[in-house]
Symmetry: C2
Subunit: 395 residues, 2 copies
């Protein structure tokens, strides 16, 4: 297989409800990625698009075909992927393979969602469809409930007093808000940058022990990346970012994972594949955008990815070891919790951030110094789909 | 890239509403494909699943992850594709690439839908989401309306009196019913095999000039195929069917296709890719399962695929040139119109039929003698996604 690079990235601001259609939003991100890659739409050979809920948000299935034409890439093969919150990561990983195989040289991949436009009620109901519809969903197991249960299991498994865990989770939130507040693309840009721990702990309870500030927002947004062969990349940019490792795994219903909870088994398998393919160890990763849909999700992810020992991630956040300048810089974008979570776009948004970090293009205050290796981690459903990708500077 | 084969296929009976869940239905088809390939579930390295409307039919997104575990393929990467009626064909084409690239040796691909379970009202409303939601859908342009307009355009373009075209379309239907009536997997098995043309012409009008019998039914069903590398295939079966050509293309809103209508431009581009890759001409194809969601759709498809000159397909059907023993055997399964149309499964069902035809396993009366080269043609939406694949006997 051939070496594969990201040559350009694009992203809308992640935000609350937008007037634009999903196709228009994706076109905005795609145009930025295409132009930034020194390409024209006619150079793009295929479109791989993540979108989870367009049918519900605006009554539009098959938006990939309309997006291709709207962007100016008429007639190209256009695929849509639904992998819940990991939809765009599945799309990017697939684009990697079509280029690695030699079939295509230039592919546009990404995702879009209008989750904020749907409103909290419909968004919550439809998000819950990405858990098991026969046992979990009817029992009221929406995602805040899932992660609240994981928080209790985490506290119990590692013998951490619940109040202590709540404070550790608040540290996660404070770090996310700090970075998001200075990221112009973030939904919470300019907000909550200096929030007090007391305010987080005393905000209203969503699902005990999670309060409002432990949860990510509903967001509208789109992100896009141009995936190219090594030869094409060398002609298009002097700063190619190579995808050196990919991994993906699945899980069935949460209840079947009881040997592993509060860990997510699919993440351990997926990241192992990615590390092995890249030939690196977790300690070599400089920056990671991981799936922090809830503050507890950050702790669980960081441990399964091998950055911290099991049961110690909370302490790591307290000591700044998960921040820029620490052992590993986690979510310098602000993550899902502050940058936002337009579910079908989130994975591509993570790639956008990691590529910009490796290129040294993030804003002062949230740029990771000398970042050479980056990683993304995207969780779909309650562990149903896990995708990890590793990126390395090509110059 | 490596040579890629289909080593086993499976399919549920296509039918009206089922009590089984989509996961259970797909598992039935997948188990048949896995067992028929002399494999065990643990040998499968990835699952690529087409499903268009599971979120609406049973409130289940992410069914690919649950299906993987249910079948016994725990933790493998599992992707879901939504390409409307072409969802499963997109999944199979993607499986082809992951095996051709050398990344995987054994992949399970297929699709499932419970469109009949949804009921006519919800199915019609949600199917329409696969046309353009901003201009076509609000104007009442459901799929019967689209194909009714194409029928009028066809008659007008090729100067065929409308009543003559109606009789030609009735011939298409009669052939479909004849084959489906002796296909035990068909929704209309045992039905309408000797229907009179008068009955078709006089059935109630759905969208003029299309009557009830010009339209395919809503169906529940699942189909699955095992895609393997040449090396793996040689160990698993003495009757590998090679995928020698693939093609895919997209189109935007129907109104933007006005230079080509009643032809579908994406089909001409997609089939051209497939023919070129396989190194064959249309006249070399012995059997083709094409996308006959409506009788007029058969005429349009057969012409764009190069089997008949433009404007002459109706005559070809009248003369038996599209039947077994004619120039090319089209839809010996009964096609969407008689075998049924579980939309997310349809493309994989076409592969099931073509593979069985090449292996000489179809029932007497609908087996194409000495079939060596087969083809599938799947249309998603009103031309939004087109997928063509060419298959050849490997023994």
């Amino acid at each position: 297989m051939r070496k594969v690079a990201v040559v350009g990235v694009g992203e809308t601001k992640f935000s609350g409800p937008q007037e634009k259609t999903a196709v228009e939003m994706f076109a905005e991100a795609a145009s930025e990625a295409i132009t930034g890659s020194n390409l024209k739409p006619k150079d793009v050979q295929a479109l791989f698009l993540g979108n989870a809920l367009g049918d519900f948000a605006e009554g539009q299935g098959m938006m990939q075909a309309y997006a291709a034409e709207y962007i100016g890439c008429r007639y190209i093969p256009a695929n849509r992927y639904e992998g819940a919150c990991a939809s765009a990561s599945v799309a990017v990983r697939d684009a990697f393979m079509w280029v690695a195989s030699g079939m295509y040289d230039i592919v546009l991949a990404g995702g879009v969602e209008r989750a904020a436009t749907m409103g909290t009620g419909l968004a919550t109901r439809t998000f819950a469809m990405f858990s098991d519809a026969h046992y979990e969903y009817p029992a009221g197991v929406t995602f805040p409930a899932v992660f609240a249960m994981l928080a209790h299991l985490y506290a119990d498994t590692y013998h951490i007093p619940l109040q202590k865990l709540r404070e550790q989770m608040a540290r996660v939130t404070m770090q996310s808000y700090k970075h998001g507040s200075i990221n112009p693309k973030a939904q919470f840009f300019g907000k909550n940058g200096d929030i007090a721990m007391e305010k987080i702990l005393n905000s209203f309870v969503v699902a005990t022990p999670l309060t409002l500030h432990d949860c990510c927002p509903f967001s509208d947004g789109a992100a896009a990346v141009i995936i190219a062969s090594e030869d094409a990349a060398r002609k298009l940019t002097d700063k190619p970012v190579y995808i050196t490792g990919i991994g993906q795994a699945s899980n069935g219903p949460l209840v079947n994972q009881n040997d592993y909870l509060p860990r997510i088994r699919a993440r351990e398998l997926s990241s192992e594949q990615a590390y092995k393919m890249a030939g690196i160890k977790p300690a070599e990763v400089d920056v990671c955008e991981l799936h922090d849909c809830f503050s507890i999700a950050s702790l669980i992810a960081a441990e399964s990815l091998g950055f911290f020992d099991f049961g110690t991630a909370g302490e790591a956040w307290e000591k700044g070891q998960a921040d820029i300048g620490g052992k590993i810089a986690i979510n310098p974008s602000g993550g899902l919790k502050s940058k936002g979570h337009p579910i079908g776009a989130t994975g591509a948004g993570q790639v956008y951030e990691v590529v910009n970090q490796l290129r040294g293009k993030a804003e002062p205050g949230r740029q990771v110094p000398e970042a050479g290796i980056g990683m993304t981690d995207t969780l779909g459903g309650d562990g149903g789909t896990l995708v990890n990708m590793i990126f390395e500077k090509g110059w």
